[in-house]
Symmetry: C2
Subunit: 729 residues, 2 copies
Amino acid sequence: MKNLRTIIALLLLCTVRVSAQQISSPSVSEGMGIRPTLSVGLLKSPQPTSREHRLMPVPAAIKFQAGRLKIDASFTVATEGHREARLEAAIHRVARRLEGRTGFTFSREQVSDSKSATLLIECLGPGSAVPSVREDESYSLDVSPERAVMKAATVVGALRGLETFLQLLEADRGGYFIPAVSIQDKPRFQWRGLLIDVARHYEPVEVLKRNLDAMAAVKLNVLHWHLTEDQGFRVETRGFPRLHEMGSDGLYYTQDQIREVIAYARDRGIRVMPEFDMPGHATSWLVGHPELGSAPGPYTIERKAGIFEPAFDPTREELYKFLEGFFKEMVTLFPDEYIHIGGDENEGHQWTKNEKIQAFMKEKGIKDNHALQAYFNQRLSKIIQKLGKKMIGWDEILHPDLPQSTVIHSWRGPKSLAEAARKGYDGVLSSGYYIDLIFPTREHYKVDPIASDSDLTAEELKHILGGEATMWGEWVSPETIDSRIWPRTAAIAERFWSPREVTDVDDMYRRLDAISIQLEELGLTHEKNVDMMLRRLARTKEIGPLKTLVSLVEPVKGYNRNQAGIDTMLTPLTRLIDAARPDSQAARRFGLLVDRMLSDAPHFRRNHDRIRMTLSEWRDVRPALDVMIDGSPVLHEARQLPHDLSEIGTAGLEALAYLAADMAPPEGWREARMAMLEEAAKPKARVEFAMIGSVRKLIILAAEMANLKSIPHSQWKDRVLTLSEEKSR
Amino acid sequence: MKNLRTIIALLLLCTVRVSAQQISSPSVSEGMGIRPTLSVGLLKSPQPTSREHRLMPVPAAIKFQAGRLKIDASFTVATEGHREARLEAAIHRVARRLEGRTGFTFSREQVSDSKSATLLIECLGPGSAVPSVREDESYSLDVSPERAVMKAATVVGALRGLETFLQLLEADRGGYFIPAVSIQDKPRFQWRGLLIDVARHYEPVEVLKRNLDAMAAVKLNVLHWHLTEDQGFRVETRGFPRLHEMGSDGLYYTQDQIREVIAYARDRGIRVMPEFDMPGHATSWLVGHPELGSAPGPYTIERKAGIFEPAFDPTREELYKFLEGFFKEMVTLFPDEYIHIGGDENEGHQWTKNEKIQAFMKEKGIKDNHALQAYFNQRLSKIIQKLGKKMIGWDEILHPDLPQSTVIHSWRGPKSLAEAARKGYDGVLSSGYYIDLIFPTREHYKVDPIASDSDLTAEELKHILGGEATMWGEWVSPETIDSRIWPRTAAIAERFWSPREVTDVDDMYRRLDAISIQLEELGLTHEKNVDMMLRRLARTKEIGPLKTLVSLVEPVKGYNRNQAGIDTMLTPLTRLIDAARPDSQAARRFGLLVDRMLSDAPHFRRNHDRIRMTLSEWRDVRPALDVMIDGSPVLHEARQLPHDLSEIGTAGLEALAYLAADMAPPEGWREARMAMLEEAAKPKARVEFAMIGSVRKLIILAAEMANLKSIPHSQWKDRVLTLSEEKSR
């Protein structure tokens, strides 16, 4: 995905600042209230609802009514209509989660009269035997003070509704309750996926299971299992044991484990689509089968990140025989309708260097490497069709000779997808959802699979099936992968499920904070592993100062970690960059405090004390951090950070003092502080401070005080906002 | 274990106060230094070593030398002598953990010249094919500035040495290193176990695996797998499928999983001994096989905690046929030399009520239920002997007719064990190591399998094989079990491994704090799940105030949770009592601060400010806690706690003020405050404050100021210590 790197990086660089809309927002809650979930974000909701809720994804239609359904120890669930083990198991899991949150012990007895149950589920049928892209996932949920009634055409619809029901749980001093509400819900897109790359770093079955639970919680329905790569081949193959035996360092899934994961996913209404990336990204295949390669070999498992030359030799008939045998075994293992064949980033260097391949191309009139890959894809497509499956691959595979059942998976963007749709091909978008690149949630959230200026016809639009977040595996371990996927992917899940008009960023973050905690009950470690990693780094339980630092930094973004060339697939992912997380919540909250204060021009009183305390903490944490870093060699690379943090804090305090005193800073102050910020903004230990933009605003504004004085107070607020927007870019 | 409950509870009630020795200790570090592990505890070590270390268990003999072996990216390991996959895998795991701590990426290449390796392991042989109670676990480790050389007779010895090597890792601003040292090590007892009861609450395989890793880290060598109970039957049996199908709620281990756990344990040099508890504690067997019971049934899986009537009918020949078939299958699954048959707490109520059984007893001249159980045990013993296994069971089974190969597992205490030893039976101690009872580490630490006044001969002493910590499963879930086992069990492991003279409690705690963090790298959740549970309870990430409260409370101890009768096996274990942990570290540290201040009589200056800040925090956290509890119904039961905490803080601050001002408090003050403490000491929400003893000391001493003034200053210190000892009891 090298090209994508540049595209995304450029795209995002223009937009990472906080938008003017956020600054002017009049309804940012100041937090510390009784209901902690209100502490950040807008009180208004983008939906025509009568009250705030914490649902993610937002349902297609929701209407709150007066009253509440009490949830207490007498809670029961009954079903009418279709019954089956999958539904019973889901009800059991939801009841246990509800017990876990509320502390109640519900009766395990069957309800004798289903009408008397707290929650009645009326389900019409089982849905597809194998989860399908055509699954009916719709449901309705009506909650009155007497009871809740859910209706769904399929068990999968009921599963989706059950997650909504759980998210509706609220509490106050009167107890737990579900607000009276009427919900009609169905997904906007039928393909809502998460790619997990288990090839670059292996992830044990338990990691996949807890992520499947999290996917179900936010109504994702495709696990795209990226199983093979230059760096690893992760599937046990009975017919070709050299593949997993020689290509995996012993880290592969047994066929029993694969069946276990697929059954686990099916129980949650989730498809499991395998990807076998070819003809490039295939070094690990060639370790045991060098004869398939376009150069003689020998090959070893690739340890670095990047794009590598090894590729299958598409001119050899033996290759197709091999692949036919291989896929014949794989289709017995993977019941999904689709097989992903990758097809990306093959640059054909081995092909160019191979005389036999060149002769073959000349003979067949194949004009370049791209055309040779198209030839390979057509051959592959026939094998896959013959086995009764549909083929899906990345943008590069699009070619007029491929059957219309082929699906285009786009890392190029909505336009590439639209082009495929016009040609009659189904498409799935991943451009803009590359969560491995560590960009903030709001950036992913605003990407829509259908461009806002799309001119596709209604018929063509049907080809846009949905999208997938991609968890590429270069820099994730079982310890850190959850924190790279969650909670950001919940917002992407909302993009795929909710009406396109659901776009309010502040409201998204408010709900995301609530969802993030709920995901923990499923065993997700995105939150709890951070402190654990800091304890290991600092060799003590007393990690307070380090926590302050790490909460304010984010790992370097885009492909900067790859390009640094320091880390390989064998590097322990236990350093500061690994403990740091994307989209710093602390920086975001600080930004909201600052914006709120600025909107309080000309007084700048609002939040003043909280901002001052925060800045003082940054300034003062340095000695403790210095000592901690000094005593822990793995942290030595971070030696500059406490110094920078202290300087940032000091500069912010100065700005705050000028603002509070209504006094202009001296000549040169602004330039000196901006230069300091520029230095501090440079990554160290491959992490970067996430709150520098907010401090920059404070400095610019303090420096503008003299000019501000010449205009009427009533105009300050607008002027301040304009300035902070202009200057902080 | 009902009797045990009373014994232990009484035993411990007398001793939970901090001892005088601890108070007078002159060398408690005041912390906050560069080396965080020194922040609490004694600087002296109980071993004749030349420097402080963080080893647990302490080796049999250790001698530090001058110099250090640098650990950097060039670290390599080589082996000489015996080589095998188990050793290679262990070296691989240790290298990865070392990488995780240091951030280095070590070479994966084989070392060409073993003499040039950083660590050379000379291993003579493989050890037992199946881990054995007679395994030679000894090793020596010599570290010089040039390299480390480990020697071991068996692979298991090398595994033990590798864990010591990892624990030796230290760091300072110069980098990571192992201090030069010479260690000769071997265990004091050959049976060092942890019982995990997976019957009352099922624990998934991953929970067992991470606990096996932790056991290996502290050199425990027996997983006592308590597999059957009134509340659940957890083993897949091919011959008798009704056992697991009807007795487990679907929560049982498949035979593949059992083999997986046993192999995992063997890789770590750990025996896996299964327990099938009978003839009592067997309700779950009778659900599918009521014909084995002493009453007609039907039976259902027991949901409560306690002792229940159902028991096998020992008068029926079919029972023995059944058991022979059952054990015949089990011995193919469990390779260990021993089978644990439980045999505890059968009160024989069903036998007494059953006329047929009464007639049988009369006919055979069996005088009482105890004798009938002895009859059953003899029959059972023959079956187990015939299958080539040795039988082990709880105290009750001891009977002259049992073969001398039978092992007595004692919940009654060292005396019971000594009695068995005199009769020629091997014994294993668990009395005093009941970690489910939530007593502090120091209480378990001081229990020795051999009484200090033991008069056993050398030959008889050989029968004392060791001990086992027991994690009974009434109140643990996969989320909380680690926090009930660790870190306390590390101190028990030291009791079983280290020389009996290693008894310094403060030094144990100092090392325990370090080990606790290291256990986290193995995936243990005892530390990280606490905050996660608090986030769920409070429904927010901002858990600061709740964390302050929970760090100071402990779950009710002994059998108080059972006796409350509120919770069953179906209760969600997600309440405050479940988030709270045994042996509050915060309370312990506060106690050390107070003791240190008291030892500074008559000035009481030392730690004054830190104690005042802590007490002020307790006093002031109340409003935030009140609001948090009010908004979260599951916390309503804890409403009184913030009030109590605030009162405790206020009383402590008053005492501190009197002490600082050298002024006597007014009439009635002492009585009022002591009465308040007595109320505050009562459990609420089934947790209790752990720092009340320390505050009581402050109050007593403040109240004695007037009397103290009449004696010379030079005598204050002794007087203060005496008083605090006398009055705080």
